[in-house]
């Protein structure tokens, strides 16, 4: 009854096609142009629906269950270019937690690489995760060229890409070796790579379990890395892997010692520092 009453009340203000004041300020710029990747999950109204689901449900839930502690979100604040987000992988909870850790603007334009054989083997599951987390099928075995091509298309059309270069979840929380696709992608698209490290999600939802358990989670986001002149894809992949390991190691100790001026300078954003 309450719904009917509300619909009636709203109906009173219904103005299909009527003249509407056109002076309302245009939406603030922020969202990139629609992706040229024509996958339905990246188009309206799915984008808006996902935005509402993530902001209203997934992010508050992830924060409530994990007491999420995020360090380094500032690195993503000024990123105008699409970036490759790279993280260690220990749990299915990683994606939700990492998305919750991103600044709103970065989250809205982030696509997640999801194991094609695991999530997209069953069409309904693929659709649900695509809607919920903005995933796209990322083949772990074979077909590397096709995957790299579709990934680079996403990056080139303005989407950030979150991938787990270990290729699978760790059983014991230890990080595995990164597959070299990260370096290839960064090389091809010239995108900066943002190392991320998530700790604690193996307690929230370890491999094999299908439900969440509350546990504290820390996410650390590192300084964006760019490929150096002459640096090969594999060497760059190793550097990214080291950066993620460093983020994981540094949780209990300050990253930089010295007086505040040294710490401040060490944390300068590369773009802003060079602008000065």
């Amino acid at each position: 009854m309450s719904l009917l009453r509300d619909v009636r009340a709203v109906r009173a203000g219904w103005r299909w096609g009527g003249v509407r004041p056109a002076t309302w300020a245009a939406a603030a710029p922020g969202l990139p142009e629609p992706s040229t990747n024509l996958d339905w999950a990246r188009q309206e109204p799915i984008r808006s629906l996902r935005w509402a689901l993530q902001r209203g449900l997934a992010v508050p839930f992830a924060r409530a269950v994990t007491g999420l502690h995020v360090e380094g979100a500032d690195w993503l604040r000024d990123q105008e270019r699409p970036v490759l987000l790279v993280s260690n992988h220990v749990s299915h909870a990683d994606t939700v937690v990492l998305l919750a850790a991103l600044p709103d603007r970065a989250r809205e334009r982030t696509v997640v690489g999801a194991a094609a054989d695991y999530f997209y083997g069953r069409p309904w599951l693929g659709r649900v995760v695509s809607l919920w987390l903005n995933t796209f099928p990322f083949a772990r075995h074979g077909g590397a060229q096709a995957v790299l091509h579709s990934s680079s298309q996403l990056l080139k059309s303005g989407w950030n890409l979150l991938i787990y270069p270990e290729g699978t979840r760790s059983l014991d929380g230890r990080m595995g070796e990164f597959l070299p696709g990260v370096g290839h992608l960064a090389n091809e698209t010239r995108s900066p790579v943002v190392p991320m490290h998530v700790r604690g999600t193996h307690r929230v939802m370890p491999k094999g379990r299908r439900f969440f358990m509350p546990a504290p989670v820390d996410v650390r986001i590192g300084r964006p890395l760019e490929r150096r002149q002459g640096e090969g894809s594999r060497a760059f992949t190793r550097r990214v892997e080291d950066a993620v390991r460093d983020l994981g190691r540094g949780s209990d100790e300050p990253r930089v010692v010295g007086d505040w001026i040294e710490r401040w300078r060490a944390s300068a954003h590369p773009r802003r520092a060079s602008a000065r």
Binding site: A9, V10, W14, R55, P103, D104, D259, W264, S267
Partner: protein
């Protein structure tokens, strides 16, 4: 260029009007001929905030450039406003972060070694790590927290000093660190005309001893209103205190203002006038209404409190406190003022889920009074929108719920003090000192995240002017017992409330609905 604020008259074609209802919303039909006052559209933000900030620091008003004031061997204290504004909190980056980063960058270039950042939270609760991090950003937080970035402790006997007494006998205390600094930089966010200027420093880094000088029933009764500083005894007192501080410490004031873009895209319908609602806005309203009708209170609260507003920086000025504040007020008034012709018999106000003192907490009944009769009633200059002896109708669930961590003294204030008397002056005389000096509240303020023991008194005094001015207060949809405990009347529906109000103001009353937030100040002619 956005539209200015507007007063529209309800006719047969006017859609129902949005009323905030705590962590919920309602659409209500007002009687034909009623007026609805809408805030102006958000004014255009500055295109390059960082550039504007750098320019303000390099070309201050009636002061030297900040760079010229910095030297390596100095003690530099940078204070900034706490989380009580803006409301809802600003989406990152907060403008305070942008300003602080520029100031700190300059301090680093000048080689200033001794730098402290202090959140000027006065008698408000200590902010949590995450709340501080949200305001200052990751980079500042990881560089300074916790040793050189912290909350002001107004109850630290070693950390506060008495710096003098004003010509009117008002004591002025200040954080010792600030008082002994070679330069005190204050980073201000002026959200409404009440904020900013001397008030920020005099209260933000003061203690109970200095705040009690102006947070009195008498002063607040002579502040008509707080949103128009020239007519506010509270602000006059703060100015006297602030001038004394300026005579004691070298101050450099940086003040910013933001527009009133208060809601993110998902809640855009709250920002817009109902006549502007698109089908998407109408659908969003329906979805929010149904969800808030059904969802448990905790879930609603978590969702509402996670909202971050996409405010835009509209002005930034630096330099001497008064000169800077005058310029900022021009911009703030440009954003907020709405001309309203004459007073009205009945004013209706929907109380939103959030006020300055319940960020990440329940809005308890005392805060409902503070928000409705303290803040929203006072959003006027000239005369109140409601005539003397008129009726204020508030809409809020007004449940007997308190956040035990943030508002412990509020619980006792509600149970013990309000059970005895509702008269602000009597409450002040008989109870204030006892709560203000209670060692347990003091402990909770200093070590936990509780508001100071005296805070519920101030929240109540804040409403003293409205209580004296109006003939009746009716709360629509409130919990009956709680509303009666506060001394008000309770109604189930707006229609009932209007009927009840007629008993006070007579038949065929004039009705004005203040459709806020987004906030505005009614310039009543």
């Amino acid at each position: 260029m956005g539209r200015p604020g507007a007063v529209i008259e309800i006719d047969r074609n006017t859609p129902p009007v949005l009323f905030h209802y705590g962590e919920g919303v309602r659409l209500e039909r007002l009687p034909l001929g009623s007026r609805v006052v809408y805030a102006p559209d958000p004014i255009e933000p500055v295109a390059h905030p960082e550039r504007a900030i750098r320019r303000a620091l390099a070309h201050p008003v009636e002061d030297d450039p900040l760079k010229a004031l910095l030297r390596p061997d100095m003690r530099l204290t940078i204070a900034f406003d706490d989380l009580s504004l803006p409301l809802p909190p600003m989406a990152q980056p907060d403008v305070r972060q942008l300003v602080l980063e520029e100031v700190i960058e300059m301090a680093a270039e000048a080689g200033v070694e001794d730098v402290h950042l202090v959140a000027a939270n006065s008698l408000h609760r200590r902010m949590t790590e995450d709340e501080i991090r949200h305001i200052v950003g990751d980079r500042i937080f990881s560089t300074f927290y916790p040793d050189h970035l912290y909350n002001h402790d107004a109850e630290d006997p070693e950390g506060n000093v008495l710096i003098g007494t004003t010509s009117r006998g008002e004591e002025v205390t200040l954080s010792k660190r600030a008082a002994e600094s070679d330069l005190l930089v204050y980073v201000n966010l002026t959200f409404v005309p009440m904020d900013g200027g001397h008030k920020s420093l005099a209260t933000g880094l003061g203690s109970y001893r200095s705040v009690r000088a102006h947070h009195t029933v008498d002063t607040l009764l002579h502040s008509r209103s707080y949103f128009h500083p020239p007519d506010s005894a509270l602000h006059h007192s703060c100015i006297r205190q602030g001038q004394l501080i300026e005579d004691t410490v070298r101050c450099f004031h940086i003040e910013t203002s933001v527009n009133n873009h208060s809601f993110p895209a998902i809640a855009n319908f709250m920002q817009k006038r109902e006549t502007d609602w698109t089908p998407a806005d109408q659908a969003a309203f329906l979805a929010v209404k149904q969800l808030t009708d059904l969802a448990p209170a905790d879930v609603k609260r978590a969702v509402f409190h996670s909202m971050r507003a996409p405010y835009g920086l509209t002005a930034v000025h630096a330099g001497q406190v008064d000169a800077v504040h005058d310029r900022i007020l021009e911009t703030v008034n440009r954003q907020m003022l709405v001309e309203v012709e004459g007073q009205t018999d009945i004013v209706t106000i929907g109380i939103p889920y959030l006020g300055p003192y319940n960020v990440n907490a329940i809005m308890n009944p005392v805060l409902v009074v503070c928000m409705g009769l303290g803040y929203l009633f006072n959003t006027y200059r000239g005369r109140p929108v409601v005539r003397e002896g008129g009726v204020v109708i508030l809409s809020h669930p007004c449940r007997n719920e308190f956040d035990s961590v943030q508002h412990p003294s509020y619980v006792d204030f509600y149970d013990e003090v309000l059970s005895d008397t509702l008269n602000p002056a009597e409450i002040e005389t008989r109870y204030e000192k006892c709560f203000a000096e209670d060692p347990w509240y003091r402990q909770l303020y200093r070590r936990s995240h509780a508001y100071h023991g005296v805070h519920p008194f101030y929240a109540w005094y804040w409403a003293a002017h409205a209580m004296q001015h109006v003939g009746d207060v009716i709360v629509v949809g409130g919990e009956r017992e709680t509303v009666h405990h506060l001394g008000f009347k309770c109604a189930t529906t707006l229609e009932d409330a209007l009927e009840m109000a007629e008993q006070t103001v007579g038949r065929y009353p004039s009705v004005t609905h203040l459709r806020l937030p987004p906030l505005f100040v009614a310039d009543v002619k």
